[in-house]
């Protein structure tokens, strides 16, 4: 079980990103393993926004969001009052950015690592939860069985 940051999906969808190959490899592995993905609904908003701004393609942004939001392997956690209070405590106690606190809150609540390519997020959440790059997460997984 993993919480995946928006940056990993953004890199997977953008071949020119430096973290593209590792992001794709990790998502493909988690998909093959059927590993549950625990994601904040905030991811959908961020993904649509970044794709709309960087790729200038709101139509595809909408389609990728619709696709991810209905993927049975993904569980989306809404920012309800309980999660908001948890994230607020984390933001205040660990001086996190708002979005980082939401991701940490979701991962902490689920008891799973956060996978991210956002270097600032990696640095800030270290010590609060386990945060890894896709490459580090991949190397920590057991070897995939032969097909």
């Amino acid at each position: 079980m993993f919480t995946i940051d928006t940056s990993v999906f953004v890199a997977d969808l953008t071949p020119t990103e430096s973290g593209h190959a590792e992001s794709r490899a990790l998502l493909d592995r988690l998909r093959a393993d059927g590993t549950p993905l625990i994601l904040p609904t905030l991811l959908l908003v961020e993904l649509a926004g970044v794709i709309g701004r960087v790729h200038g393609d709101p139509e595809r942004a909408g389609r990728i969001v619709a696709n991810l939001s209905t993927n049975p392997q993904a569980t989306f956690v809404a920012l309800d009052a309980a999660l908001a209070l948890r994230a607020a405590d984390l933001a205040a106690g660990h001086r996190l950015r708002g979005a980082d606190a939401v991701y940490v809150g979701v991962a902490q609540q689920a008891g799973c690592p956060l996978i991210t390519l956002d270097t600032e997020q990696l640095r800030r959440v270290a010590g609060v939860i386990t945060a890894q790059t896709p490459a580090a997460a991949l190397s920590s997984l057991p070897h995939a069985p032969d097909p």
């Binding site: 953008t14 071949p15 961020e46 701004r53 696709n67 993927n71």
Partner: protein
Amino acid sequence: MSISLETVRDLAGQLSPRDQVRLITLLSAQLETVVMDTPAPSSVEAWTTYDQLRTEFAALPEPTTSAVAELSASRR
């Protein structure tokens, strides 16, 4: 040699209750293996569509800025 489901059912009916339970246990174990090896169809469909979108995104013009850097900046 082929055998029909009806024949198997008739033969199973001749087994003792204990052996019928053993047969069900055996078949359940086989069924579990099949189910565990086969991802849910809806998940497969979702990932297939995701793959199509990956291909479409790869064909888009190269962005002038890093999407990951843009995301991080938007969080400040």
